[in-house]
């Protein structure tokens, strides 16, 4: 019990009698003696930290926090058409059921026997993602898609020791910021980023690629679908150019597209990566992202992964599955600064959830969800294009997202989005900050959760807003 006579429910030994008994065993009269002998006086914090008055009881802390969270507008009371790296998707209840299980929720780095189920769930995550990507190898997950992109490029650099990466100029700006930092070194960057020209829909200018490819390029990375939603129709040709120059071909993809879109492996990708937040996870204010990298079964790639890999193996009992660590010394847990980059706690619970999602969806589910997304997003683009003054100029097919050009409406993207809130609609991503050359354009995102009525409401609202 502390000075304020509280016995804390999360600190069983704050009961004074218990504490006294333990001190007696240790041979001290005051727990502070334990510190006094170890931490010099001048390094000890004097006084009491100036923190807010605590909220001790469970109901009140819940109420207090809910009152703050209520200030957030959200996609259950509003229609949300915002994507750009995180999007509202359907989350099967079983996904939440499994990731809410205390055993998974509170497990950590336990070994393969007591945590056999966790290891199997990770093995299955990797196995299911491998089928989706039509590749063979995945590690446990990364922080997010940006990290997966960055580490894919570093893998390529380690494989071929080349110092330049080519990426589209219109890649996801969040990812671009992460890449720029991650590829740096002292004093010069390890890997130089050179961008490739893109059209208004985000498609790469292949002639520009041809002029920039060289023996110094470690990888060509594209996004497919692109950040602006379009399908990179020349993906196979781009890959050919990359591989003929001896570079790795990295394709950053949205895994929920892969029920209908070809797996990058089948049009030349040597490394597939992306963010799996679309597979059974909520938006969570950005807290449900998770990164993956997939490659073919080749030691050239396997030995360059940076994160733990769990391999299936045998136990002392015939026929029983067990799991072991694969090439542990690749990782910084095994080799500190001699490792492939660094590893650590990332997004294990979300990877297990993505596995649950793929298991429950199956091949049919993935095909259907992709189809619904394509139909509804095309329907939305069509309806929005009918609004006077508004243009949708996608030069290629698109998946889930598309750019709407408001330049001729005399209104800014910010004004459009603000007005949409009045219709209880969270609009799309305003592109004017990241891509000023596109003027007043908005990236709208339509998924399987948006009904025809939702889309019609959006088109109706836009019509009303631009006509004002």
């Amino acid at each position: 019990m502390s000075k304020n006579n509280i016995v804390y429910p999360y600190i069983p030994n704050s009961v004074p009698e218990v504490k006294a008994e333990m001190m007696k065993v240790i041979g001290i009269n005051d727990p502070m003696e334990l510190y006094e002998r170890e931490i010099p006086e001048e390094l000890r914090f004097k006084g009491v930290m100036n923190l807010p008055e605590p909220i001790y009881d469970e109901y009140s802390i819940k109420r207090h926090t809910e009152d703050i969270l209520k200030k957030n507008k959200n996609a259950s009371e509003y229609l949300c058409f915002l994507g750009a790296g995180c999007a509202p998707h359907f989350v099967p209840a079983v996904c939440d059921e499994i990731n809410g299980r205390g055993e998974f929720l509170t497990a950590y780095v336990g070994e393969s026997i007591a945590d056999h189920g966790k290891w199997q769930a990770f093995f299955e995550y990797a196995s299911l993602m491998a089928e989706l990507c039509d590749m063979d190898i995945l590690s446990i997950p990364m922080y997010d898609g940006a990290q997966a992109a960055a580490s894919s490029i570093r893998m390529a650099n380690r494989i071929n020791s080349r110092g330049t990466v080519l990426i589209p100029e219109k890649i996801n700006p969040e990812n671009m910021m992460v890449l720029k930092n991650y590829l740096k070194s002292v004093p010069e960057p390890d890997i130089k980023i050179v961008t490739l020209k893109c059209d208004a829909a985000g498609l790469i200018d292949v002639e520009d690629l041809k002029s920039k490819i060289s023996q110094d390029v470690c990888a060509v990375m594209i996004e497919n679908p692109t950040y602006l939603g379009s399908v990179e129709v020349k993906a196979e040709e781009i890959g050919k150019i990359a591989r003929e120059a001896g570079a790795e071909y990295i394709v950053y993809t949205d895994p929920i597209s892969l029920g209908v879109m070809e797996a990058p492996a089948n049009y030349g990708a040597t490394i597939t990566c992306g963010d799996f937040h679309t597979l059974g996870l909520h938006m969570g204010a950005g807290g449900c992202q998770g990164g993956f990298i997939a490659t073919f079964d080749d030691m050239k790639y396997i030995s360059e992964f940076k994160d733990l890999m769990f391999g299936i193996t045998e136990t002392s009992v015939e026929g029983e599955y067990g799991f072991g660590e694969v090439l542990f010394d690749r990782t910084s847990y095994g080799s500190r600064d001699k490792a492939n980059e660094f590893t650590g706690t990332s997004t294990g619970l979300w990877a297990i959830t993505a596995g649950v999602y793929l298991a429950i969806m199956g091949p049919k589910g993935m095909e259907e969800v992709g189809t619904t997304i394509m139909q509804r997003s095309q329907y939305a683009a069509k309806k929005i294009a009918e609004v006077p003054g508004v243009e949708v100029n996608m030069s290629a097919p698109f998946f889930k997202e598309f750019v709407v050009d408001f330049n001729k409406t005399g209104k800014t993207a910010a004004e459009i989005n603000e007005a949409l809130l009045g219709y209880k609609i969270i609009g799309g991503k305003d592109l004017s900050f990241d891509f000023p050359e596109m003027g007043q354009s908005i990236l709208f995102c339509v998924t399987e959760i948006h009904t025809k009525d939702d889309i019609d409401k959006l088109a109706y609202a836009l019509k009303g807003i631009v006509s004002r």
Partner: protein, 522 residues
């Protein structure tokens, strides 16, 4: 039936389901869930929606399993039962990880409240004032807890936080035109990420070995410093639980040559309200919100590495910064010297929320009580474990000297006496309903190591049970070696033949790779 009246042990057996791999459950045609389909009117107007993909339309459906919903749910529930989370065991085993209780009230809000779950991270700040308020308020709490001036919660884990700090050290020196600083100094008992992340950020890494006191001598440290030193990145107390009492001298010496000092506070649990980064002179620090501040570990994430800085480093912090103008919260991207981002969006908001709620339920007094009880628990356990046959405590300085929140122990004596080492004991541990313990980071400086951290969540009875189990396993090693040889006996599986797989022929990290290697390719 309760625990054995005399031994106090449990007749435990973990769930053992012999559960198939999910692919083995596939029945062609079965469905786990039906998904929304486009309305007829949409299909009429658009067509099938996918023909437009042309050559990029998927030709062969992914070979995912086809399993009914009940079977998928049962499958994963069984796997969860074959996992020993903190919620179901006395999780003292995973030293350096601070496996504390994660209050359910926090979890339920974070996992279910639409004000988080259904919020998009790129919403207009005006429409996510609650998210920004929690982040801002948590920053204020962390400032006081560390004594530093600014915090950011973007990094997605502890190592990621340390990496962010390494990036900031780099940008700080480069911004001053100081291009020759390419070395970072760390210590062997600091977490591996203190060596690995600066290497990823572009530095050469110098690792100092401990002397008989458990930390590197100040003379060796000073000898390693030079005009090339960009920074020091160290843990204190290190993974041994020993607090380096001369830490301020190390920090001052580093500052004297123009280096920055980064404090890895993964082991901060014993220090809340007791000792802070500021008083020790550090320029930056990081905390694991999923350890010290109670967010659950989630089978290795999602997590948050909270990073803190002195004012002069604010310009280099990740963007966006969450600011408050007295009326509302807003995002500031106008930071031209910023390192940019190390993770997309605002980080793992759910983890930040849970940590905020935990701190708010304790206040200044409560945080200190948590720290004190964690040290009390550890020293109580030390007293008991030192009496256990075969156990050695390295860096044992005798009467009057203590450890803080954890101890790196050794079964060196046990191994000499019986031939059984830490790995053997560890295999047996789960038979008593206790998670395998954490041995040590690599390399093993302490032989036959195991690292225990009995944080404040555990009761005296828990500690007694745990110590009793270790004493019993020690007894078995000396008296009943057959029991140890066959362990584990009561787990979901038996001893794994290849716990470390380095032979290419044996590598199978996915089901398809496994089938291929077994010659069973579909």
């Amino acid at each position: 039936m309760s625990r054995d009246r005399y031994s106090r042990f449990r007749k435990f057996h973990q769930a053992k389901w012999d559960e198939e791999i999910i692919f083995e459950l596939s029945v062609p045609g079965e469905r786990g869930v039906l998904v929304p389909k486009a309305e007829a009117a949409v299909a009429d107007e658009i067509g099938d929606g996918v023909s437009v993909l042309g050559g990029l339309k998927r030709k062969k459906a992914p070979a995912l399993p086809e399993v009914s919903q009940m079977r998928v749910n049962r499958h994963y529930l069984r796997l969860s039962q074959e996992t020993m989370g903190t919620d179901v065991n006395i999780d003292i085993s995973q030293g350096t990880c601070t496996m504390k209780y994660s209050p359910k009230v926090q979890e339920h809000l974070a996992a279910r409240h639409p004000g988080i779950v259904e919020v998009h991270p790129l919403q207009d700040p005006d429409t996510m004032q609650g998210v920004l308020e929690i982040i801002y308020r948590t920053e204020q709490l962390m400032k006081e807890i560390s004594g530093l001036d600014h915090f950011c919660f973007q990094p997605g884990g502890g190592a990621h936080g340390v990496y962010t700090n390494a990036s900031i050290i780099r940008e700080y020196h480069l911004s001053r035109g100081d291009y020759k600083r390419d070395e970072i100094i760390t210590t062997m008992f600091s977490h591996p990420c203190d060596a690995a992340t600066p290497n990823t950020a572009g530095f050469k890494v110098i690792t100092l070995m401990p002397d008989e006191n458990g930390f590197p001598p100040i003379e060796a440290f000073k000898a390693a410093l030079s005009e090339r030193t960009a920074g020091i990145m160290i843990t204190n107390p290190e993974d041994t639980g020993i607090y380096n009492p001369r830490i301020k001298e190390y920090v001052d010496a580093a500052h004297a040559v123009g280096a920055l000092c980064s404090y890895d506070q993964a082991n901060a649990n014993a220090f809340l309200g007791i000792a802070r980064a500021k008083e020790a002179g550090f320029d930056m620090c990081h905390f694991n919100m999923h350890k010290t501040f109670s967010a659950p570990h989630g089978c290795m994430g999602p997590a948050t590495g909270a990073v803190g800085y002195k004012d002069f480093l604010k310009p280099f912090m990740p963007v966006p910064r969450v600011e408050f103008d007295g009326r509302k919260y807003y995002l500031d991207y106008n930071c031209p010297q910023s390192i940019g981002k190390t993770r997309s969006f605002l980080g793992n908001f759910g983890v930040i929320l849970k940590s905020n709620m935990w701190i708010m339920q304790h206040g200044a007094e409560g945080l200190k009580e948590a720290a004190i009880c964690s040290v009390l628990n550890n020293n109580y356990m030390m007293k008991k474990l030192k009496e256990t046959r075969g156990v050695v405590m390295y860096y044992d300085f005798g009467v009057g000297k203590n450890r803080l929140e954890q101890v790196r122990w050794s079964w060196e004596k046990l191994q000499q006496d019986t031939g059984f080492g830490t790995g053997d004991v560890n295999q047996r541990l789960s038979d008593f309903g206790i998670q395998h313990y954490w041995t040590s980071h690599h390399p093993w400086v302490v032989p036959e190591p195991f690292t225990l951290e009995p944080c404040e969540s555990y009761s005296k009875d828990d500690l007694d049970e745990y110590c009793g189990v270790l004493a019993e396993i020690s007894r078995e090693c000396y008296e009943e070696p057959e029991v140890i040889k066959g362990a584990p006996h009561c787990g979901p599986t038996h001893r794994v033949k290849h716990p470390e797989i380095n032979d290419e022929e044996l590598i199978a990290v996915t089901w398809r790779q496994y089938l291929k290697k077994k010659g069973l390719k579909k």
